[in-house]
């Protein structure tokens, strides 16, 4: 990424005008403001277009738990690794392939002869099962609502009996609550992910706004969308109000995609689970409902993830703190040294939505 590219985005005049307005609002507010976004694509836009360098002094944009792969818990990876080792074909999205488990990643066991297939979609995983009727095919399913709904759709569409799902799907709203309650985070407003909201609708954040008296604005990923989202948030903060707004009306409605939601909740239910490095979060993991037990890999197989010692370097990994908004990638002593995308220590360096990978890709440490 060159400097010119960093500055080249649509309608620079419009962006500058928004930045001017942000500046004058910050003058009025007259204290530091911290805003958190919850979306890997937001981080990408912010880093790629150098948005942090344009923001007025005192306005900080932190990243929150917006990368599903980054918060996938090690034991979940270990389960997938164990299934692959025991002879199942494990199908998963490319992002999961290199995420370290306790001892091995899926990539590691694949190099040692297990069958791990990177798929682009849940339906490709089902196709694999049809092509391999004599093998068990387990779809290690990750992601927020935008990928959980497709997983649900293939389960509703009567997949073959050798197909099952190991769900590591996550549900964001409860995680936002946990982050809002962390003693070290002092967040004045949230920029919520436009794309999850395509499915859930932005109305889903209403209870959060009421409970925490913190404004939430749903924003798109494009630089102008991000700036516009920040502007709406600062308006709320300046006026001492809370509220919920949609700065991404092109793609997001209040009710969301009701068909996708119905499919999602027909198949999945919420449960308590660990978000790697953050906390055990009530209702933030998605597991298959009893009606779909036959397709639930955790019920079908007696999974025996072997324990073992994790890489001692993982003790220094700050991925969880980064996801909770209390640390930034360049505070990690391994960043870009022992930990790189080809040799990742933590999940934040693996996923294209992972802040460590994004920061490394777009010029190391985007200026704060």
């Amino acid at each position: 990424m060159t400097a010119e590219q960093t500055l080249q985005f649509r309608e620079p005049e419009a962006a500058n005008a928004i930045v001017d307005r942000l500046e004058s609002m910050m003058d009025e507010i007259d204290e530091d403001v911290s805003v958190m976004h919850v979306c890997g694509s937001h981080e990408q836009a912010i880093a790629k277009f150098g948005l942090r360098t344009m923001l007025p002094e005192g306005l900080t944009v932190r990243m929150g738990p917006g990368c599903p792969v980054c918060v996938t818990n090690m034991p979940e990876v270990d389960e997938a690794v164990a299934l692959a080792r025991e002879g199942a074909i494990v199908a998963t999205y490319g992002d999961m392939y290199r995420v370290p488990g306790t001892e091995s990643s899926l990539g590691d066991v694949s190099a040692r002869g297990a069958t791990v297939e990177v798929v682009y979609s849940a339906s490709e995983a089902v196709a694999l099962a049809r092509e391999n009727p004599d093998r068990e095919v387990v779809f290690f399913a990750t992601g927020f609502e935008t990928t959980a709904a497709p997983t649900a759709a293939v389960l509703e569409a009567d997949p073959p009996s050798n197909f099952s799902v190991l769900s590591a799907h996550k549900y964001v709203p409860p995680a936002m609550e946990v982050v809002a309650e962390l003693p070290d985070t002092d967040i004045d407003g949230f920029l919520a992910a436009g794309h999850a909201a395509v499915i859930t609708g932005y109305g889903i954040f209403e209870p959060f706004v009421q409970k925490y008296h913190t404004p939430v604005v749903v924003g798109g990923f494009e630089p102008l969308d991000v700036l516009l989202g920040l502007e709406r948030l600062l308006e709320y903060i300046r006026d001492g109000r809370t509220g919920l707004d949609n700065a991404y009306p092109r793609c997001v409605t209040r009710a969301g995609n009701t068909v996708a939601l119905e499919t999602l909740w027909n198949v999945f239910e919420k449960t308590t689970g660990e978000w790697r490095g953050i906390a055990e979060i009530p209702d933030a993991n998605l597991v298959l409902r009893e009606e779909y037990a036959e397709y639930d890999a955790r019920k079908r197989f007696d999974i025996d993830p072997e324990g073992g010692e994790s890489d001692p370097l993982t003790n220094d990994c700050l991925c969880g703190d980064i996801m909770a908004g209390t640390a930034e990638p360049d505070e990690c002593s391994l960043f870009g040294e022992e930990c790189t995308p080809t040799n990742p220590v933590g999940a934040c360096m693996v996923s294209s939505e992972g802040p460590c990978k994004i920061w490394l890709e777009y010029g190391g440490t985007p200026e704060i």
Partner: protein, 102 residues
């Protein structure tokens, strides 16, 4: 990348459709799009599933925004489309089949 990608529906077969993303064709599912979709419509595709029909009035702007955002990151766009070896042709999409179909 969690942003989804806009494409044009070329052909529909039950819950499945062929869609075009900057001259790259791909099969996608329509199970959860939530609206009736026809040939020539634009949808937002995420991981092989259409998750939203893009309103006609917003197609052009949406495509333009994506092009400006994805420029320089074609590899990632292709990953999002699920066609790693293909070549995207930005600027081609709006002038394509949509005009012919309507």
């Amino acid at each position: 990348m969690c942003l989804g990608i806009p494409g044009e529906i070329l052909e529909i077969d039950g819950h499945e459709a062929r869609a075009e993303f900057w001259n790259v064709e791909k099969t996608i599912r329509l199970d959860i799009v939530g609206e009736s979709v026809e040939r020539g419509d634009y949808i937002l595709n995420h991981a092989g599933f259409a998750i939203r029909k893009i309103p006609d009035t917003e197609v052009e702007e949406t495509i333009a925004i994506y092009e400006s955002f994805l420029e320089g990151d074609e590899d990632e766009a292709l990953e999002e489309i699920g066609a790693a070896d293909a070549v995207l042709e930005f600027g081609e999409q709006q002038s394509g089949a949509r005009g012919r179909d309507r």
